[in-house]
């Protein structure tokens, strides 16, 4: 019963949705009911799965690359106050410019394929990863740093043995945010120009008034994003337990 409790509001929502569709006789190209969406999902399972795999790959690559790049940037910025002064504003700029605005140019640069979508996902998660890890790196508890100074360690060793491990929770919270943002980046990329992926499929289905297929793709995208979020959450919690337990 307990396991079902989170599903209850969802179930209620579906019932209301189906009820509204029946009651007002909404044409299915405007708003298909959940039953029809489910049917579309089953009918087009192979098609949707193929596109979902592409989107999943884009998201995974973007997330992986973004995490690595964000990690490296944060450590470099933490080591050098001069770099923080020079690059900090640029970092904020990457976040201030709407990614939608950059999508066309990224498509131009990296092509219609995987590259531009990975770049998109990477761009959108780079800032949260870098900034939350950098914040954590700059907030190593002062007594630990003092103790390290008395012991006689400094520079990159202090970074490696003290500040980076101490900042792990900050890095992980950036990663958790990134897991939510990365699918958005990939889908925006697919909207702007693609031949594969769930975003492309949704656009295609929408254009042909196959609204039920559009919703089916949307459902799969949502499930994908939630699964990714959950997975990263669990991994982060497990990493913290292993580290500090």
């Amino acid at each position: 019963m307990k396991a079902l409790r989170p599903a209850l509001p969802l179930l209620l929502g579906l019932v209301l949705w189906q009820g509204a569709v029946w009651l007002w006789q909404v044409p299915s190209f405007i708003l298909p009911g959940p039953v029809r969406v489910a049917a579309a999902l089953v009918d087009n399972a192979g098609l949707i799965a193929g596109h979902a795999a592409v989107t999943g790959l884009e998201v995974a690559l973007g997330l992986g690359l973004g995490a690595v790049l964000g990690w490296l940037s944060a450590v470099a910025l933490a080591l050098s106050p001069a770099a923080r002064g020079a690059i900090g504003p640029i970092l904020v700029f990457t976040q201030a410019v709407p990614v939608f605005a950059l999508a066309p140019i990224l498509t131009l640069w990296f092509g219609y394929g995987l590259g531009s979508k990975v770049a998109m996902a990477l761009l959108i998660i780079y800032f949260p990863v870098t900034s939350s890890f950098l914040d954590a790196l700059l907030q190593t508890p002062a007594p630990w740093l003092a103790q390290a100074r008395v012991m006689g360690g400094g520079g990159w060793r202090q970074m490696w043995y003290l500040r980076i491990p101490a900042a792990l929770p900050g890095f992980l919270s950036g990663l958790k945010l990134a897991a939510v943002y990365a699918p958005i980046g990939a889908v925006i990329g697919e909207w702007v120009g693609a031949s594969r992926g769930l975003g492309y499929l949704m656009l295609l289905a929408n254009g042909r008034a196959k609204t039920d297929l559009m919703f089916a793709a949307l459902v799969v995208l949502a499930v994908l994003a939630i699964a990714l979020h959950r997975a990263v959450d669990h991994l982060a919690a497990a990493a913290l337990r292993r580290r500090f337990g």
Partner: protein, 288 residues
């Protein structure tokens, strides 16, 4: 030629400490002070944070190879003394003269042990002992770390992380870390004040046994602790620094011996007397 000071300093359990062919040893010629011998400490001057005087002008001298307790109420700048000597007093401007009495720099000759154990929560007890070596880029000696944990009574706990240790056990790890650093000067900043009384007494005995022979400056607000451990006892109040006579028995003294209790009482009276003075707005003149 025997060393000028006695005690367990330098002798790690299970590790034969053979002296390196040291050019700093006295028989090899007058090449300056031996950096391994515990030096005396001196601190003369005043310290401020911004426009506010923390202490001073004061003149503190710590005898080499002895245990000096610096007793005083909270807020008189006791810990600032330690931070200045350890070279970690950020944001404090000190005017005067401080360092080792032998004239050589103190950096690299000091270990610090504080009230908070300052163990790194992601490292095992063993690795917490080795963090100093890692930070300095030396080869960490796992065997020596385990032997040191055994000496402080934590055999079999080398693989535990701080969260899996009690407060007293964590302070033992911190003591072992202080010992493995093997520095001639050890600064103690109320290291036992968060422990319950039985654990505290046991920790005091252990620290006294293992640290003896080094130059110890031990900041505390507990008169009983000063009466137990101090070879010298200094009282720091808003009015300045006073040297008080320790009990005659050699430290560590039993906590319940009449002489220790009497000294505790006398020290407590001193603390009460200085607490009666209005602590507000101590002017620079009033502190001399």
């Amino acid at each position: 030629m025997p060393r000028a000071w006695p005690g367990p300093y330098g002798q790690r359990a299970g590790v034969d400490r053979t002296d390196p062919p040291c050019i700093l040893r006295p028989e090899n010629g007058p090449v300056g002070p031996d950096r391994r011998a515990p030096p005396g400490l001196r601190l003369r001057g005043r310290a401020r944070v911004g426009a506010q005087t923390l202490f001073g002008p004061l003149d503190l001298a710590v005898a080499p190879g002895r245990w000096t307790c610096l007793l005083g109420p909270s807020g008189v700048g006791k810990s600032t003394f330690l931070h200045l000597l350890a070279g970690i007093a950020d944001g404090i401007s000190f005017a005067g003269d401080l360092g080792a009495a032998d004239g050589a720099p103190l950096a690299g000759r000091v270990a610090l042990m504080a009230q908070a154990d300052m163990l790194l929560p992601w490292l095992t007890a063993r690795d917490n002992l080795l963090i100093g070596a890692r930070l300095r880029g030396e080869t960490p000696d796992t065997r020596a770390a385990e032997a040191m944990l055994e000496r402080v009574g934590l055999s079999g706990m080398a693989a535990r992380k701080p969260r899996a240790l009690s407060g007293g056990q964590r302070q033992r790890v911190a003591l072992a870390r202080t010992l493995i650093e093997d520095r001639p000067v050890v600064l103690l900043d109320e290291p036992f004040s968060a422990l319950d009384i039985a654990t505290r007494v046991r920790m005091q005995d252990l620290a006294a046994a293992l640290l003896r022979g080094r130059t110890i400056l031990h900041v505390t607000h507990d008169p009983a602790e000063a009466a137990r451990l101090g070879d010298h006892i200094l009282l720091l109040t808003h009015r300045g620094l006073t040297e008080l006579a320790p009990p005659r028995a050699p430290a560590p003294r039993p906590p319940d011996a009449p002489e220790t209790l009497e000294a505790t009482g006398a020290l407590t009276r001193h603390l009460l007397a200085c607490e009666c003075q209005p602590a507000a707005a101590p002017s620079a003149e009033g502190l001399t």
